[in-house]
Symmetry: C2
Subunit: 271 residues, 2 copies
């Protein structure tokens, strides 16, 4: 009877008594009391155990970006659960942009801790846009709110030379007239992000980038069907230059106004 509630692994969850397999028989007795889990929080959904453990490790600094997690087989044995459940937990972390998995061997392989909230949030937002739950118009409005805020703040502060140079380099790269539209929009997105990053708020930068990411498909599709892309690109270049100069001149009010007009104008073109 593997369903015997060994180790007192009975827990009340959502009003229902959930009795779970108690790490069964495989010689896990050495780690039975484990770190802290005797009765308090055991009995969780198997993969939640791994999830909670990794979050704790992260919070207490024992795991940080660049570190490699033990292999899936090792984790499974460590927690007395199956590899499938470990994979479940790791998949969760991967979707959230906390880890990245790669096959093969060597230092670049395996599951390593990264910090890529942007693509994670962006992908999630994209799906919710797909399900008609988040209108594109609201995303555009949110972008305007964030970018005007960022640029106002950026203009009022001093920046690292490298940061402003990055934006300038992107500006120059976009001047190439032979650039495919898709490459242009990619640089465009990077430019907006680089400029907004001058405000020095990583959360806002992350969210802005995620919003942009979530609508990238929409933008590229719209651009591809535009007949007068060359003219529009020319306008965009001028607008970008004007915005950049306003920020560089520490004129926050003008920068905010210009970027607002810039985004609203471009969005109107794609309707």
């Amino acid at each position: 009877m593997p369903s015997a509630p060994a180790a007192g692994a009975a827990v009340v969850r959502d009003g229902a008594a959930v009795v779970h397999r108690g790490a069964d028989a495989s010689g896990k007795m050495d780690t039975m009391p484990s770190t802290d889990s005797l009765v308090p929080r055991t009995g969780e959904r198997a993969h939640d155990v791994v999830l909670a453990h990794i979050e704790t490790e992260l919070r207490e600094g024992r795991l940080s970006v660049g570190d490699r997690l033990p292999g899936e087989r090792a984790l499974a044995e460590q927690f007395g659960i199956s590899r499938a459940s470990v994979r479940d937990a790791i998949r969760t972390l991967e979707v959230m942009g906390v880890v990245r998995s790669a096959t093969g061997s060597g230092p670049k392989s395996g599951t390593v801790v990264v910090s890529d909230p942007t693509s994670a949030l962006g992908q999630a937002l994209r799906l919710h846009v797909a399900s008609r739950h988040l209108p594109v118009a609201d995303i555009v409005q949110a972008r305007i709110m964030m970018e005007t805020w960022c640029l106002s703040r950026a203009a009022g502060s001093t920046w690292e030379p490298a940061a402003i140079d990055e934006a300038r380099a992107l500006l120059d790269a976009m001047d190439d007239p032979s650039l495919p539209s898709k490459a242009f929009t990619a640089l465009d997105a990077q430019f907006h992000v680089a400029l907004s990053a001058l405000a020095g708020n990583s959360v806002v930068s992350t969210m802005m980038e995620s919003l942009r990411e979530s609508t990238r498909g929409y933008v590229d599709e719209a651009v591809a069907t535009l007949g007068n892309w060359d003219e529009i690109a020319a306008d965009l270049r001028l607008q970008h230059r004007a915005i950049f100069e306003a920020v560089e001149a520490h004129d926050g009010e003008r920068a905010a106004r210009l970027v607002r007009e810039h985004i609203e104008w471009f969005y109107a073109q794609t309707l």
Copy 2:
């Protein structure tokens, strides 16, 4: 003995030719670029097929909130992949807040399409806060940006009576002096969200709620260690009333200023 298909061998399963991985190196794309989902697209990861299919269904409106997905076994058969890979894809969607899975039978069971970006984004943000990648100070700043924007906009527009009544009801509920601090902060969060929702931007509302969600543990922990919680709660009640009245009086500027001071003041208390 489970049929051990040799590398590159074609296995016939359920009437559909399934080419196992490893055939990518040889001829691949030349095989019927059919859009039919019965033909696996080699070179794509197994679970990505399901993911892409569901996103398409979502985008084209064939799937919407409340619909039930086919069972995991059915999907596995439909795509000619294993149930484990189907589960991988569904787990991804679940983490993103696109579906919700429940065991059992009946209409409420199985995998159902929902739209819960808030908890998904909130959980992801929380993990990145845990990994020291997103400072709490930046989150507070982002909240201030969003809430001041929301309240300015909310004050300048007309709202559904039900929406403003909800905020008022939360305000009244927080007046209960016997409320545990944790219950108070929960109502507090709901109040901020309800008020900000008056601005009518679902994306900003979602992000605001996610930010609050991601710092809930931090806030509750800080509140629990405060010695003078009763005094602070009294101050919070007054501030909430003032903010609410400013919005109700359509004084956007005052509402924005008050909510900024409110958040900054509370954050300062928890340091």
